[in-house]
């Protein structure tokens, strides 16, 4: 995330599995290392570039067709709320091929269905190389569901993401 330029031309939203029992300091922690403002998603706010939106603990974050965020307290998905699948599947419907999905280290299969939905919609899919991940289940499940996804180390992913962000979302080859 430190590789994202301050004049980032793409919209960014992030899900991390965290317990909902206490307020999250995630936005603060990430914000300290990022040139872009980082904040928790509020219900119905428009998806805009230049901000890193973080799903608040205890809520699923979704994107509506009108490209605004929506929150819900629907059932846990993969024992988690927020869940990556929920964000990705809704975003795939809203953005189609104007969307990229990235799956990082994680301890369950959340995100695999969502990434497959992004791939079906023509979006770009990137998965962290499982042998560089702290927990391999999530990247492995994502690759199994989307075999065409690009596999990158975290360092290469940062370079790649920085290039996408600078180039108005055009995906470098």
């Amino acid at each position: 995330m430190a590789a994202l330029p301050a004049d980032c031309a793409v919209s960014l939203a992030l899900v991390i599995h965290l317990p909902a029992t206490r307020p999250s300091r995630l936005a603060e922690v990430l914000g300290a290392r990022c040139a872009l403002p980082v904040r928790e998603i509020e219900d119905k706010e428009p998806v805009v570039p230049g901000v890193v939106f973080v799903a608040p603990p205890g809520y699923h974050a979704l994107v509506e067709r009108g490209r605004t965020f929506a929150l819900s307290m629907d059932d846990l998905v993969h024992f988690s709320r927020p869940a990556i699948d929920v964000l990705f599947e809704s975003a795939a419907e809203a953005y189609g091929d104007r969307l990229g999905g990235v799956i990082l280290s994680g301890a369950n299969a959340d995100g695999a269905r969502g990434l497959a939905a992004i791939a079906r919609g023509g979006g770009v899919c990137v998965v962290q190389a499982a042998d560089t991940a702290l927990a391999r289940d999530m990247p492995q499940a994502a690759i199994a569901a989307t075999p065409g996804a690009r596999v990158l180390s975290v360092e290469d992913m940062a370079t790649w993401l920085g290039a996408v962000a600078r180039d108005r979302g055009r995906v470098p080859t």
Binding site: E42, E64, R65, L71, M73, D74, E89, E93
Partner: protein
């Protein structure tokens, strides 16, 4: 796990059928999460598509009652988000104490946990004897559960932790009787709460109240319906009355932002101007 995603047209037609047949209006619910819940419902009902589900519930009231559980989200806890209740206690209660009699409205009360939380809080502040709490929802099963005031005893460890974190002045066990695996809230609390059917999508304000608590209800509505709902809540509030929302909800993006001031902004507690 879930059926293929419905198209927007299918969703619209389905919600029209539900409205026409049962007068439950979900047409202006936030679409993305509603679609997800309906996908789960399709699996549970063993129906291949929304048109098929519509055909089934149209002539089967019992099936519709089952479906209602999927259309709405009914999750709650006692003293959920303890800091909210602490702020109500510290910042709103001093104002409430100045009224000779009080009315409070919990809009979208689900199975009643929030209404009981406020009843306990008001009891501890010496206000419950002159308070009537209206607690409303569109879900008849939830309202029945809420009015009974009986909850699974296994939930009370968390309830009790929340109660303490919310600034509870005694012990939560002062307010219920445990019996085997369930716990029944005190009669004193139950008789202060009137549970009834009310829809923020189709009904209007029904009383003048000093405090409205409507948390994590507006997130399921689209923007125009949020405006309507907040308008209803505003109409119910007395001059300088208080409105509490969920901690990721805000009036900022609604048509009514200028009619309120932020009283405790981090807890989303507003005061009507």
């Amino acid at each position: 796990m879930t059926a293929p995603a419905a198209t927007d047209d299918e969703l619209g037609t389905f919600l029209e059928t539900v409205f026409r047949t049962y007068h439950y209006d979900f047409r202006r619910y936030a679409a993305a999460s509603l679609k997800r819940r309906l996908a789960v419902a399709l699996t549970q009902f063993g129906e291949p598509s929304l048109p098929a589900l519509a055909a089934r519930v149209e002539h089967d009231g019992a099936a519709f009652t089952r479906l209602l559980r999927f259309l709405t989200v009914q999750v709650s806890d006692l003293f959920r988000d303890p800091s909210y209740f602490r702020a109500i206690r510290e910042t709103v209660v001093p104002y409430l104490g100045t009224y000779p009699s009080l009315k409070v409205w919990v809009a979208g009360c689900a199975t009643g946990e929030e209404a009981y939380s406020l009843a306990i809080l008001l009891a501890e502040e010496g206000l419950l004897d002159r308070t009537l709490i209206y607690a409303t929802d569109i879900h008849p099963e939830s309202l029945r559960t809420a009015a009974e005031g009986i909850y699974d005893a296994s939930r009370f460890a968390r309830f009790s932790a929340n109660y303490m974190a919310a600034g509870g002045k005694g012990s939560l066990s002062d307010y219920y009787m445990a019996h085997y695996s369930s716990a029944l809230f005190d009669r004193r609390l139950r008789k202060a709460i009137l549970f009834s059917d009310h829809s923020l999508a189709t009904d209007s304000a029904f009383a003048e109240v000093q405090l409205v608590s409507c948390r994590n209800v507006l997130i399921y509505f689209d923007r125009p319906l949020q405006d309507r709902a907040v308008g209803v809540l505003r109409d119910a509030l007395c001059h300088r009355g208080f409105l509490g929302l969920g901690n990721k909800e805000s009036l900022r993006l609604t048509a009514h932002a200028a009619e309120f001031r932020e009283l405790v902004s981090e807890e989303r507690i507003y005061q009507r101007l």
